[in-house]
């Protein structure tokens, strides 16, 4: 078991009313799964993903990640936990504009205790694996969207996470680029990485092994 959510609630208070963003979510994810979260706008897909990624809090319920009870952890410990085990991929890539491809890849390693020589080796390895050695000194603005997302995925993978969380990873890409990224995910999943993605597209969802549907913060399937 990689993670388990039990009766998760998240809400905001607005005008004296409690509006639920997540309502009684139960979910367990095994290692090696490839899950797609689907649902209309505002159904809570991204919120759920953020909760799983520990970027966001929830108001009620229990969250177990590996053997840790996330709901009892302080921010600093949570950060340590997710930086160790989780990699994030975003719809708008969120690469740092001021850094080159190589430097962007190195970023996550800086927050862990890797030596400089190790970092160099890991970055070189990743550039190689994603076939972007020739682009290592370019800045994000000099790359196409597909290439930027490739770097984004590489960055998410570089610290060898157990879980990859992807929020509409192909939302800003054309169909060909989308397909490449999804193929990449499929390949990574086969290599043993657990993936949870949020998507609108049935086609992308089909790459996964399981689909979770959300409506108004509730799990419908």
């Amino acid at each position: 078991m990689l993670l388990q959510l039990n009766n998760i609630f998240k809400w905001v208070n607005s005008g004296g009313q409690r509006i639920f963003l997540l309502k009684d979510i139960n979910l367990s994810v095994q290692e090696g799964e490839f899950i797609s979260i689907m649902g209309p706008s505002g159904s809570g897909k991204s919120t759920l993903l953020n909760v799983i990624g520990m970027l966001d809090n929830f108001d009620e319920g229990e969250y177990h990640f590996l053997n840790e009870s996330v709901h009892t952890l302080k921010e600093k410990h949570r950060a340590n936990l997710y930086k160790e085990y989780i990699g994030f991929v975003f719809q708008s890539y969120h690469l740092l504009d001021e850094l080159t491809v190589k430097e962007n890849l190195e970023m996550p390693l800086l927050y862990k205790k890797y030596k400089s020589s190790e970092r160099k080796a890991m970055v070189a390895d990743m550039l190689d694996r994603f076939n972007i050695v020739g682009k290592k000194d370019l800045f994000p603005a000099q790359l196409s969207g597909g290439q930027q997302q490739l770097v984004g995925v590489a960055r998410a993978l570089i610290a060898i996470p157990k879980l990859i969380l992807a929020d509409e990873p192909t939302g800003n890409l054309n169909s060909k680029q989308s397909e490449e990224i999804m193929e990449l995910f499929k390949k990574l999943n086969k290599e043993g990485v657990t993936i949870i993605q949020v998507t609108h597209s049935e086609k992308n969802a089909a790459y996964g092994s399981r689909i979770i549907n959300l409506l108004d913060g509730r799990k419908t399937s």
């Binding site: 997710y82 927050y111 610290a159």
Partner: protein, 811 residues
């Protein structure tokens, strides 16, 4: 900071060049201005603190009263005081006497001479009071024999280069005073009131007969200053009492109306607190009040610069939320983000620091050479200075770093990732801007008002004509020389033959100078002097052509004639003196007799219209003009009235005449109008300083405003887009945005105007002839501020108002 994070920041700075430039430059300019001002203030307040035991050293001042009214307060005292005190043991460790003179010092062996060097006449007790090291010579032995001198290290370098000066002869003011060098003392710093080049033995004067060993109790005179060094444990008030008792016992006033009191002044207070006549070094343009002013201005500039730095840094950092979000998802914890922000802001300050140091280096090379800025020379070796510069830098860094560091680092990653531009705390931001406006208004108004006062003083009718007057300083070698008098006539007559010369006059003092000789002992024959307006009369010594040379008009009676022998007891007086003596009109005074010092009877032969001898900062003094007489004459200046505009063209011709008549003296000249206006050097300096300070403050304010308006553009683009969609015009939006600044200016005006008004009024109240803070100038200052603000914000604000709503509303 790991190299990586540093790289991000560096590239961020390079990408935002304008931001970086104005931020760094603004802070650097602020730091430099602040430090220069503070350094100046500390230079002035540390006067005479160079002497380790300055706390024990006092100068004795004399206060002379007539009928309980103080008429003369002088830094000099009885010549018998020091010799008497030496025999007293109560609390006195050492006592010394100093006379001061500016002399021509001539090293004839190498034909090297310099005029106007500072000479102190004293003996070796000088070293008992002032703890100065002798580099050569023995403190016990120097300055005892007549015709000996001890010179400063700098003087020794100047005159003797690498030669050994001991035993060499330097002539003081011509032939009569050949002085043997017997020692070298370490240099006294510039900021000491006894800064001098030569110490000459008192025994010289005694052997010449014009000084005496034991002195007298006649009066304080104008020459002799007494210094005492009290014992460490001595009680100052006990000593003061002892001094009063001593005075009572020794001094017998010849005139029952006159009484004398002695007071003690710590030497460290002399420079800033003196109000005494006959100071060795008259402090020009400094007073504690002005130093306060300067410190306040310094602090205002520094705060404005910091405020600017903080506002800009915060504003810009607030746009970096996305970066924070990304870093957080990659595992950055709060503490590492905080550390990052602080280091970044320290880095920025270090940049500013480097720029500031560069500015200082350039300034040292080019600007600090000016004598007025010589106090900046030692900054590179001054520990205090570096401590100040580093603390100023770090303080700014922390101020600017803390706010964004803590507000941004606590941001949740999901919010940060949306890339929103954070709203800063508006209160802080707005009050910072209001503060800048307050400072700007005050400084602009201050500049104008000082300028107004200055032109008022320069333009006022002075009562004499200062233009086209060539002034030559009297020949030093002629002091008490037997040819002095005939040479004056020879020089005057020869110069008068030049076709361009209208008049030549020789006089002791010239307009723009304090008349050094004063006496309270004048009254009308057979009458008591009026008691309610007791005052010292100035005694000016002139010749028959002085009034004509300066176009000073005679109200009644007649001028002196060229035959001075006829005028031994004749005097001419001014209007103020007439009133003081109790005459109702100028005509009434003519041919009346008055009694002067030593009961000598004088006849008033003429009355002149008052003129401003000492500029408009001083009151008009009652003045008595006497024709110079052979035996008591000390020549001060030649004044030459020229009938053409380009007075300087005459110089070569006059110089030729000078060289034939005075071959041993240096020819030194200046122009009356320049010289007279130098009295306003303080105001001129102050105005320049105010102007520069306001300019810098406003410049920094503008930089800040510009950066801020760019930031507002980001913050309000959505709001303005929506307003436009629902029908607002470009004009509406523009007015809406400008209004925000208008409020701030209004608040600033309400706070600033009353404060600046009252400060400036109190400053102006120091002047006898003053202007008021003019409403017109207030209006102009406000207009200037408003236009500068509008110009600064226009570009960004207009761009925002014109923006196409579809570009913004998506965000």
């Amino acid at each position: 900071m790991k190299l990586h994070f540093f790289k991000i920041y560096l590239r961020f700075l390079l990408k935002n060049k304008v931001f970086t430039l104005i931020n760094v430059l603004g802070l650097a300019i602020g730091i430099v201005s602040f430090l220069i001002l503070i350094k100046y203030v500390s230079y002035q307040t540390n006067y005479d603190r160079f002497f380790v035991d300055h706390n024990q050293i006092y100068r004795i001042n004399t206060h002379v009263s007539k009928n309980q009214q103080v008429i003369n307060e002088t830094a000099t005292s009885f010549s018998a005081l020091a010799p008497t005190l030496r025999t007293e043991t109560v609390g006195v460790e050492a006592t010394t006497q100093i006379s001061y003179e500016k002399c021509l010092m001539d090293y004839r062996e190498k034909e090297f001479k310099i005029n106007d060097l500072n000479i102190l006449w004293t003996d070796n007790s000088f070293f008992e009071v002032f703890n100065l090291n002798l580099i050569q010579g023995d403190k016990e032995e120097v300055l005892l024999r007549p015709f000996t001198t001890v010179i400063s290290k700098a003087t020794s370098k100047l005159y003797f280069k690498n030669e050994n000066p001991i035993g060499k002869i330097i002539n003081l003011n011509g032939d009569d005073y050949p002085l043997e060098v017997t020692g070298i003392f370490e240099d006294i710093p510039e900021n000491s009131h006894i800064k001098c080049d030569f110490l000459v033995s008192k025994a010289t004067g005694i052997s010449k007969g014009w000084d005496s060993k034991n002195g007298n109790w006649n009066g304080p005179g104008a020459y002799n200053r007494t210094y005492v060094k009290l014992k460490k444990e001595a009680n100052i008030s006990v000593f003061q009492d002892r001094l009063s008792a001593l005075l009572k016992q020794r001094y017998k006033s010849k005139n029952p109306e006159i009484s004398v009191r002695l007071s003690l002044m710590p030497i460290k207070d002399i420079h800033l607190k003196t109000y005494f006549k006959n100071e060795i070094k008259r402090p020009i343009g400094v007073s504690i009040e002005r130093l306060y002013f300067l410190s306040i201005i310094a602090i205002i500039i520094m705060i404005v610069a910091w405020v600017n730095f903080i506002n800009l840094t915060i504003g810009k950092t607030m746009t970096r939320t996305l970066e924070i979000g990304i870093k957080k998802t990659l595992g950055a914890v709060k503490s590492s983000l905080i550390r990052n922000f602080l280091l970044e802001s320290i880095f920025m300050s270090v940049l500013a620091f480097i720029v500031a140091v560069l500015i200082l280096v350039l300034a040292t090379l080019f600007i600090f050479q000016v004598p007025e800025l010589s106090f900046m020379k030692d900054i590179w070796t001054s520990g205090v200075f570096w401590f100040q510069i580093v603390s100023v830098m770090l303080l700014g860094a922390v101020f600017a770093g803390v706010y964004p560091a803590f507000s941004l680092s606590k941001l949740s990653p999901t919010k940060a990732l949306k890339g929103i531009v954070l709203q800063q705390n508006l209160y802080i931001k707005k009050s910072l801007i209001v503060f800048q406006f307050i400072a700007a208004i005050g400084l602009i108004l201050g500049t104008f008002t000082i300028y107004d006062q200055l032109t008022h003083m320069k333009d006022k009718k002075l009562g004499f004509n200062a233009s086209n007057k060539l002034i030559i300083r009297a020949p030093k070698s002629m002091n008490s020389h037997k040819l002095a008098f005939s040479n004056i006539h020879a020089f005057k007559n020869t110069v008068l033959e030049l076709p361009e010369v209208e008049n030549v006059s020789a006089s002791r003092s010239i307009p723009g100078q304090q008349v050094r000789y004063t006496s309270p002992y004048f009254k009308r024959l057979g009458q008591n002097a009026k008691t309610e307006s007791e005052s010292d009369y100035q005694i000016a010594v002139i010749d028959d052509t002085f009034f004509d040379t300066y176009s000073i008009s005679l109200l009644a009676g007649k001028n002196f004639t060229s035959n001075y022998e006829n005028h031994k007891t004749d005097i001419i007086i001014n209007e103020t003196a007439i009133k003081l003596l109790g005459f109702t009109s100028a005509e009434e005074a003519i041919n009346q007799n008055i009694i002067g010092p030593k009961n000598i009877q004088y006849t008033i032969i003429g009355v002149i219209k008052d003129y401003h001898q000492q500029g408009l900062k001083a009151k008009l003094h009652p003045t008595i003009y006497r024709y110079y007489l052979k035996y008591n004459y000390i020549h001060g200046h030649y004044s030459i009235a020229v009938n053409m505009e380009a007075t300087e063209k005459l110089i070569p011709a006059v110089k030729d005449i000078w060289n034939t008549i005075y071959p041993n003296d240096t020819f030194e000249y200046f122009f009356m109008d320049d010289y007279y206006n130098k009295q306003y050097a303080l105001e001129n300096n102050f105005m320049r300083l105010f102007f520069t300070a306001s300019f810098i403050a406003i410049l920094i304010c503008c930089m800040g405003l510009y950066g801020l308006s760019a930031h507002t553009l980001l913050q309000r683009k959505k709001e303005t887009a929506i307003r436009k969609i629902v029908g607002a015009s470009v004009k509406d939006i523009f007015i809406l945005l400008v209004k925000e600044y208008a409020y701030l200016i209004l608040i600033a005006l309400f706070i600033s105007l009353p404060i600046s008004y009252s400060i400036l009024e109190s400053w102006l109240s120091n002047y006898t002839y003053r202007v008021n803070v003019s409403p017109l100038l207030i209006l102009v200052s406000v207009i200037i501020l408003v236009s500068v603000v509008l110009l600064t914000i226009f570009k960004n604000t207009w761009a925002l108002a014109k923006r196409n709503p579809s570009e913004s509303v998506k965000v």
